[in-house]
Amino acid sequence: MSGRSVSVRRGGRLGGSWAARALLLLPLTFLGLFFVYPLFEIFRESFASDGFSLAPFGDILGDDFFLGRIWFTLWQAVASTLLTLALGLPSAYIFARYDFPAKTLIRALTTVPFVMPTIVVAFGFVALVGANGILPLNLTSSIWIILLAHTFFNYTVVVRTVSALWAHVDPKTEEAARLLGAGPLQVFWCVTLPQIRPAILAAASLVFLFSFTSFGVVLILGGPQFATVEVTIYNLTARLFRLELAAALSLIQLAVTFGVMLFYARFQERSAVPLNFQPRAAGARRPRGRREGLLILSNFLVVLAIVLAPLLALVERSFSGSDGYTLAHYSGLETNTGGRVFFVSLSGAMKNSLWFAGATMLVAVPLGTIIAFALARARGRLRTLADALFMLPLGASAITLAFGILIALDSPPLNLRASWVVLVIAHSLIAYPFVVRSVLAVVRGIDAELREAATMLGASSLRVFRYIDLPIASRAILVGATFAFAISLGEFGASLLLTRPEYSTIPVAIFRYLGQAGAERLGAALAMSSVLMVVSMAGFLIIERFRYRDVGEF
């Protein structure tokens, strides 16, 4: 009773020791060198290429072309968010409130899209509703194919985040409202919604963020008429060499994403649910009657349609040639038949990808784990700000990160521009926030009393960390590691900007096929995408095996 409120208000003696603080220098140095310093260089590039000037901003904000791009980026992100919520919320409700056969499996399937590389998803939708797609519906170069792909990606975020909190809403509060005379709609509006609102807002801001900085999907599916700010920055950098405009545009994008990150950090914290590490079925029950059965069946079909259709279509198309099924697309991946200059074999690209993914994991996991533990102990007002700052690379967009690294790390002593190390740095920046999020959720959920109990049994603060925090967080760290691996494996934007031909990863190799003419090139791209999909699927299986139920946001 009094104990509860006391431990919440407690200032506590069990804060970080000096060793813990010294450890924090590691991520701070990394972020300083590879995130803050490049950002600073972007600032310099945009303001002061020759003397201080706001001209690049003027050029962008005074140009209908750029304004059009910004406007498009905004409204497609809003539309993607609304579409994802519309599909995700009913599923979140069903997962939170009902028990049904194969629930664990179906819920696990909803995670598949999130670990899928953008390039795989893009080609999945090409295979499904492209010019030569399985469905008799050609959405090539329409906005719908982009919105659908964004929904595919982010459906997971909404379902996971919202259903976790929704499962925690006591159904008795709803029953009490019913008995007090509220109709079903009023119950939802006045009782349920206020309780799950933080989760909805957190999920929505994340979906907005991902759609706002979308790159691969738009680059491949958008055709000439649709381009997000992210794609425009890429074009300005890699194709038009207008670095000052790219820098100014990056800053404008960064301002938006930081605002959204702050918003996200605020609601994410409020939607955190206390951990009790036990299977909890409170509030979930078996469906009764035909109506509820149908509801669950239709949810299953939606999951199937959203999650599996593009992926199955991808595999099917990768095997189909001009006359029936064939392995030709796959066998062509190893041999350079056309005698092309930049040819990368599948095995070569795979080797590069696995190497980068492994290295990324080794960097991102310690980085993210240290940050997560530091954030979990942070108190007071700085807490939300620190959270948003450490998560900033998540919102900074792959292209901005890569662009910053490109212009910052090109002179001694940090002349890494030509080294494969830049790719690992960029991938680690993109991946570590996911490690932070999966570890933080668990560490924050550890009851402060567990640490105090260990202390009273004679454990020093180092041993409390070693025997309590670390074992409890270990599965979350493993999940974070798998995320880091999968993200590096599928990362496209930064890789495209930073990679050299000899270090081509699978996604970059796939994209290179598109630049060449011929139907067999698309076939090769589809085949390689299918291989990447299978590898990513393995990552997903590991994540599902080790995550605590309902914990973690992704």
């Binding site: 036990q278 009851d447 567990l450 109990a453 004679g458 020093s460």
Partner: protein, 356 residues
């Protein structure tokens, strides 16, 4: 010399003073109960003694040595949390073993001690259970075993029955008493429940708003509560303002409902005070007509509530502004009384106490 002494403990959360110069002692081998309503600062005392919370002022001594510089994990105290705080990632035996492992004891010694403790708390065979498979009562036993395992100099229990339901409490309370007594374990037991405190403790400290109001054996406190707060808190609620005077060689408490003659050995200061009328041994008699209202040790009242409790009856009666609760036996005279009846209540002078 006392095992533990606390002098002038003061603690503040935000701007609120939760401990105001609290001092007390714990003798080796005794069970001391800290009793008080929630939010009175009981748990804060435990946290300060444990070293989990730095006090603003005050000293905690063990065997006369100041503990200020000794961190929590070196104090050698045990603390059993209200919600037990069992480690969810460890099995039952690993939970109990944790403190032994921290002491760096050898494997055989630890295994033996864990087995002993499981026997003591009656959970032999539960070694490899997962914590979340346990019932509330089993969790409590594991938590007790875990905090006893490293043989703490002082065991502190924070509302250990708080998370359990009523029926379970009574059984576990008896068992807890048996274990603590058999081991001669020096303990501080925090609770808001006077039954728990009185049935378990050798000595009780009653707290309110960060201050100790009274300390003593359960019998002494029950016999002579120091003030109206303590009396009410331990369930003695029949209180009325009184003027204590000497009249014709006897001491009399004059109240708005009548006069009460105190027994010669009752030590009461003259002047304004609070009179406590024990709820036992009162006689109630239905009255219909007029009665001589000046009979000493009795007063007229109206029955507001009557409840039948098997072997006894309780009556809530109102006299003037004041209400009183009396327990009465089930003799026919009492059974005949109904709600709304006017009664003459006669109290036994043995049941009268004067509070400051």
């Amino acid at each position: 010399m006392a095992l533990l002494t606390a002098e002038g403990l003061r603690l503040r959360y935000d701007d609120e003073l939760v401990l105001r110069d609290v001092s007390f002692e714990v003798e080796a081998g005794e069970v001391l109960a800290l009793l008080g309503p929630s939010g009175c600062g009981k748990t804060s005392i435990l946290r300060v003694v444990a070293g989990l919370e730095p006090a603003e002022a005050g000293v905690v001594r063990l065997d006369g040595n100041d503990l200020a510089a000794v961190p929590s994990h070196r104090r050698g105290f045990g603390l059993m949390f209200q919600e037990f705080a069992l480690f969810p990632h460890l099995r039952v035996e690993q939970n109990i073993d944790f403190g032994l492992r921290m002491q760096g004891l050898g494997g055989d010694e630890r295994r033996e001690r864990v087995a002993d403790l499981l026997t003591i708390v009656g959970l032999t065979g539960y070694e490899s259970r997962q914590v979340h498979q346990l019932s509330g009562g089993e969790r409590q036993r594991v938590a007790l075993a875990r905090s006893l395992a490293p043989r703490p100099r002082l065991l502190m229990l924070d509302e250990p029955m708080g998370a359990l339901d009523r029926g379970l409490r009574d059984t576990l309370l008896l068992e807890l008493r048996r274990i603590l007594t058999e081991l001669g374990q020096t303990s501080i037991y925090v609770t808001h429940d006077q039954d728990e405190a009185f049935s378990l403790a050798d000595r009780v400290l009653i707290m309110e708003r960060g201050e100790i109001r009274q300390s003593g054996t359960p019998e002494a406190i029950f016999r002579q509560p120091v003030d109206a707060f303590v009396a009410r808190f331990i369930g003695l609620g029949n209180l009325i303002e009184a003027q204590i005077e000497d009249r014709e060689g006897a001491t009399v408490a004059r109240t708005t409902i009548g006069d009460f003659a105190l027994l010669p050995h009752v030590d009461a200061p003259r002047g304004r005070a609070t009179l406590l009328i024990g709820d036992e041994r009162a006689q109630l008699e239905r009255v219909d007509g007029g009665v001589d209202r000046h009979v000493t040790n009795s007063f007229l009242a109206q029955v507001r509530q009557r409840s039948f409790r098997g072997r006894r009856l309780t009556f809530r009666v109102q006299a003037g502004e004041a209400t009183f609760l009396f327990e009465a036996d089930t003799r026919p005279q009492h059974q005949a009384i109904r709600e709304g009846d006017n009664v003459l209540v006669t109290v036994d002078p043995e049941a009268l106490r004067v509070l400051a």
